[in-house]
């Protein structure tokens, strides 16, 4: 089967005199490099010019709050189940009286941890979530000095009340398989 | 000019002595190169720039590079130098004495009457002069020595090929 049109048949045939001279080949090679010399450059001067992320970019996770600021996650564990890398662990707890403003559902995640060294950023947790609580954003997981610091807890994952993270551009990934 | 001669001569002798007394063979070769340079300097003083340049190219530039090459490949140093048996020492001493004797005899028999040459005559060491002399007066010796080189080259090829021919 032919995969591309740019294949070349390799042969061991004897070189002709012109090929043995080697100089025409040098000229051809120089022609190619000189053509590239005047081509449009592909470099992006990073700090001044930034490249747009693709809309499907999958970066670090965020645990969303609802419009009242209550955490949406109900600790159902579907994300952990869906996770192929088994990066997600959680501990469920029952909502006490007076905590309605903090947690939307009666059950909530007391502990929610994602090991960013295990995570492969596939986005299956996002798909599995029935409460639209977890999303992958376009920010990055930053470098750390210790492996422990890569296990993100709720402190890092839940979005701050006063600084909501917009994931509307991503929407519900229902169209995906 | 006199000063230049003496500086060159003294440094030639000193570096030649250093060749003999240097501990490491690599240093010996380097001192020898310096000796060649001082001799090339003498040639320049005698207005023989061509000889000087050829001397540097052939001796310092080619032959000594090969020497250095071999020494580096063999990685000779003091630790690996084999202990020579006594009879070898004896041979060395006898050989050295014979060489000394020959040189003393040569100096003894040769006359030191110089025929003055105008050292400031620019045409004296030029390629033209040299070529004319070589190809008129010394043509036979010149050709014989070139044959000698040819023989050496063929010998090297045969040694290197060993049985293939």
């Amino acid at each position: 089967m032919r995969l591309t049109n740019r294949y070349k048949v390799v042969s061991d045939k004897k070189m002709t005199f012109a090929e043995k001279l080697y100089l025409p080949a040098i000229a051809t090679g120089l022609g190619i490099t000189i053509r590239h010399f005047f081509k449009q450059k592909v470099t992006i001067s990073y700090p001044e010019v930034k490249r747009e992320y693709a809309p499907v970019f999958r970066g670090r996770h965020v645990l969303k709050r609802d419009e009242n600021g209550a955490e949406r996650c109900t600790a159902c564990g579907l994300c952990a189940l869906a996770c192929p890398a088994e990066a997600i662990t959680m501990l469920a707890a029952e909502r006490k009286r007076g905590e309605e403003q903090l947690y939307r559902e009666e059950k909530y995640a007391e502990k929610y941890e994602i090991n960013m060294l295990r995570c492969i950023f596939c986005g299956l947790c996002e798909e599995a979530c029935p409460k639209e609580a977890i999303f992958l954003t376009d920010t990055h997981v930053t470098a750390e000095f210790h492996r422990d610091d890569f296990i993100y807890g709720k402190k890092q994952l839940v979005e701050p009340v006063d600084n909501r993270i917009d994931v509307s551009k991503r929407g519900k990934p229902s169209g995906r398989l | 000019m006199e000063i230049a001669f003496y500086v060159l001569a003294v440094s030639a002798i000193l570096s030649a002595l250093a060749v003999v007394f240097a501990k490491s063979p690599v240093y010996s070769v380097l001192w020898l190169i310096l000796t060649f340079f001082t001799i090339a300097g003498q040639y320049v003083l005698l207005n023989a720039q061509f000889l000087a340049a050829v001397h540097v190219i052939v001796y310092a530039g080619a032959i000594m590079v090969l020497f250095l090459f071999v020494i580096m490949l063999l990685n000779l140093n003091i630790a690996t130098e084999p202990v020579k048996p006594v009879y070898m020492r004896a041979y060395e001493i006898v050989g050295g004495c014979v060489l000394c004797l020959t040189m003393v005899a040569a100096i003894h028999t040769s006359s030191f009457e110089f025929t003055p040459v105008n050292a400031y005559d620019n045409s004296i060491g030029t390629i033209e002069k040299l070529g004319v002399t070589l190809y008129n007066n010394y043509i036979f010796i010149f050709e014989v020595s070139s044959l000698l080189f040819l023989a050496a080259m063929i010998g090297a090829v045969i040694l290197a090929k060993k049985g293939d021919i």
Partner: protein, 342 residues
């Protein structure tokens, strides 16, 4: 006599400065050209278009730790880059950078020393240059360095022969070993340039010049994939800088030699018909000479980023079994034709 000496001193300083400046900016040009050929931008942070990059490089080289490995021969380790650099600089002494300036009725040639053995002087200096690399490689006490230096030595000895014989053909034609005379004989119409008389000789000379400068496709003494850094594996700081810099100075000198010996040097074709004043003609000629030098430096760089490295046996095969016989044939043909013309 005094103005003559003063002029020579100024000329020496100017040529030294120019050589160093051109070599410095060659490093920048090399990086830029390499980048452009690979569809990149290259250094563009230091100054406008990265024009201050060489200065930044120099500052970095000078401030880095100057390290001598424990097993190294300290004297030779320090001496080697100095030899490499000084021999590279010595060669530019005999290159005629221009005709002559007439000031106050006195003629000042734009050449530091018009030796009557100029061409031989160049090959002598080049053959000494290999000691820098050899000693550096040996003194490092590292097998990669040693392999690199041994490669360098055998490569340089092998290609010197072809180069020398190619130069002999030029010497036979001009009847002089002085570079000034060789350039003078190419004055007049453009077909007086030696490239049109000695095209084969030029190809041989050019190839050998690449090999002598240790430039790709013949950069085996320092090929990264096999020998880490080659002869300068153990070098750091400005000692490494001197080695790298010597390569660029060598490149400048070979470019100057090629344009002087084969491309008419400072002669502009048909300029004598314009009846310009002598000094103006000299200035224009020098500018033209430098343009040719820049062209050859750029050519060196284009070749470097185009052609992959030769294998070592291919290198030796090319040097001994192709270039040397070709050079001898070229020399014989030149001799026969010269005899027939006479």
């Amino acid at each position: 006599m005094l103005p003559y000496i003063v002029f020579k001193l100024i000329l020496v300083l100017v040529i030294l400065g120019l050589t160093l400046l051109i070599a410095t900016y060659s490093t920048y040009a090399e990086r830029k050209i390499a980048a452009f050929m690979q569809d990149r931008l290259g250094p563009d942070r230091a100054g406008k278009f990265g024009l201050l990059q060489p200065i930044a490089d120099a500052v970095k080289f000078f401030t880095k730790e100057d390290f001598i490995p424990a097993g190294a021969d300290r004297v030779l380790f320090t001496l080697a880059p100095a030899i490499a650099m000084s021999t590279a600089l010595m060669a530019s002494v005999v290159i005629p950078f221009g005709n002559s300036l007439i000031l106050n009725g006195m003629e000042f040639p734009l050449q530091v020393a018009n030796l009557n053995i100029g061409v031989l002087y160049i090959s002598g200096v080049v053959s000494i240059g290999v000691y820098g690399i050899m000693l550096g490689g040996w003194a490092s006490n590292n097998k990669y360095s040693l392999l690199g230096s041994i490669r360098a030595a055998s490569q340089m000895i092998s290609y010197e022969i072809g180069m020398g014989i190619a130069m002999v053909a030029i010497i036979m034609m001009s009847g002089s070993m002085s570079l000034h005379d060789i350039v003078q004989q190419q004055a007049g119409p453009i077909w007086k340039w030696n490239i049109f008389v000695q095209p084969l000789g030029f190809i041989i000379f050019c190839t050998c010049a690449f090999a002598e400068c240790n430039r790709t496709p013949f950069d085996l003494p320092e090929c990264e994939q096999e020998l880490v850094g080659g002869y300068h594996t153990e070098y750091s700081s400005m000692k490494l800088g001197l080695f790298l810099f010597a390569e660029y100075v060598n490149m400048f000198v070979s470019s100057a030699l090629m344009s002087a010996m084969y491309f008419g040097g400072y002669n502009i074709p048909w300029i004598e018909h314009l009846n310009l004043p002598h000094n103006v003609e000299t200035a224009l000629g020098s500018a033209f000479f430098f343009i040719k030098i820049f062209f050859f430096i750029a050519f060196f760089m284009f070749i470097r980023w185009t052609i992959p490295r030769f294998r070592y046996d291919q290198l030796m095969h090319l040097g001994w079994r192709i270039l040397m016989p070709l050079a001898i044939v070229n020399m014989l043909l030149t001799g026969i034709i010269l005899l027939l013309i006479q």
